[in-house]
């Protein structure tokens, strides 16, 4: 699957399918720090990502 990360914006490829929870664990991301977005829908951690999905991991912590 294609995973879009931010700050700075970049794309990485991960072998799927897997759950959102597994993806975050794999990338060592604390779930409280991101929203997981697929086709402008928010996903909860139990949802399954398919091999051909594009998902955005959008950080929620911001300064200012």
């Amino acid at each position: 699957m294609k995973v879009i990360r931010r700050h700075p914006r970049r794309e990485i490829h991960i072998e799927g399918p897997m759950t959102v929870r597994a993806l975050l664990e794999h990338l060592d991301i604390v779930p409280e720090t991101v929203l997981v977005i697929r086709d402008s829908d928010l996903l909860t951690r139990d949802q399954r990502l398919e091999a051909d999905d594009t998902v955005e991991l959008r950080p929620v912590i911001s300064g200012g």
Partner: protein
């Protein structure tokens, strides 16, 4: 996961409330939380004129949207910090947001009105840009809110912002800041009344609200954020929250409910700044001193 209200497919889980919500019911939930906060702290009434400090980020735009839906009269104030493309992009998002909802926006440029930008100020003071930035935002938003006759200045600080600030104030035992960290700061001579209705909404929740409510906010981070210590505390607190859901709200809520009265708001002897006439403890206020150094 299923929505607690309608049992439909959930869009977001709120672990500290042991609940999950679909998009619409989450939006309702957040609006209700904010409405309750406004009511519980007697922040303002339906007839008051509100000014919302908006940056183009998720928190302030979500807040403006919520106030609008709760039926309050809120106008936006945007301060252009002069941080290159980031500031321009943020302004265009705020403008688009206001236009779509037919809301009134006032925008002020730090460079045009005060003769310097945040990068100028950082260079002149050789301190982290965020300290000059925070000072400028507080000053200019207060200036605009009082000059334009608003009753209340409404700020978009969320639960995590406030908890991280509290944590930093405790780490340093900064008694003065601890005394002034309140959900409501009453108006005083030259200072607008200031309130923070998002103190019960976590940062991840304001972001989720913005996405679900179709708010096109600035996702890119400010290029000067590197030295922002509050941000690093927030990342660290997110790990604590992950291990013990609810700990952040417990920490902040406990302070507001049980501890903050122990830190009296000592109003020092304030008198008008010799240059701008806004209240200050010194001869010239901190903003005028910053401006003096930053304008080249």
């Amino acid at each position: 996961m299923r929505c607690r209200v309608c049992r439909g497919s959930a869009a977001i889980e709120v672990k500290r409330h042991n609940a999950a919500f679909c998009g619409q019911h989450f939006i309702d939930h957040v609006r209700r939380q904010v409405g309750r906060t406004i009511h519980d702290h007697a922040m303002f009434g339906p007839d008051e004129r509100l000014a919302v400090g908006v940056s183009g980020g998720k928190d302030s735009l979500a807040l403006w949207d919520i106030l609008h839906h709760l039926g309050y009269r809120a106008e936006g104030i945007y301060l252009d910090l002069g941080i290159g493309a980031y500031s321009q992009d943020s302004l265009s998002r705020v403008e688009a947001f206001a236009e779509e909802r037919d809301l009134i926006l006032h925008s002020v440029s730090l460079l045009q009105h005060y003769g310097f930008s945040i990068p100028d100020a950082a260079k002149a003071t050789r301190r982290t840009p965020c300290s000059a930035c925070g000072l400028s935002k507080r000053y200019v938003l207060n200036e605009e809110a009082t000059r334009r006759g608003f009753d209340v200045l409404v700020m978009g600080h969320n639960l995590d912002d406030e908890a991280a600030t509290l944590f930093s104030n405790v780490l340093n035992w900064n008694m003065e800041y601890l005394g002034r960290q309140r959900p409501v700061l009453p108006a005083s001579d030259g200072l607008a009344k200031k309130v923070k209705p998002l103190i019960r909404v976590a940062e991840r929740e304001t972001a989720a609200y913005a996405v679900l409510a179709g708010i096109d906010y600035e996702v890119e981070e400010c290029p000067l954020v590197g030295g922002n210590t509050v941000n690093r505390l927030k990342e660290w607190m997110a790990m604590l929250e992950h291990d013990s859901p609810g700990v952040t709200q417990h920490f902040l809520g406990g302070f507001f409910g049980r501890a903050s009265h122990a830190f009296a708001v000592d109003i020092p002897d304030l008198h008008p700044c010799s240059k701008c006439e806004r209240p200050t403890t010194g001869e010239r206020c901190a903003f005028c001193r910053l401006q003096e150094r930053a304008v080249t």
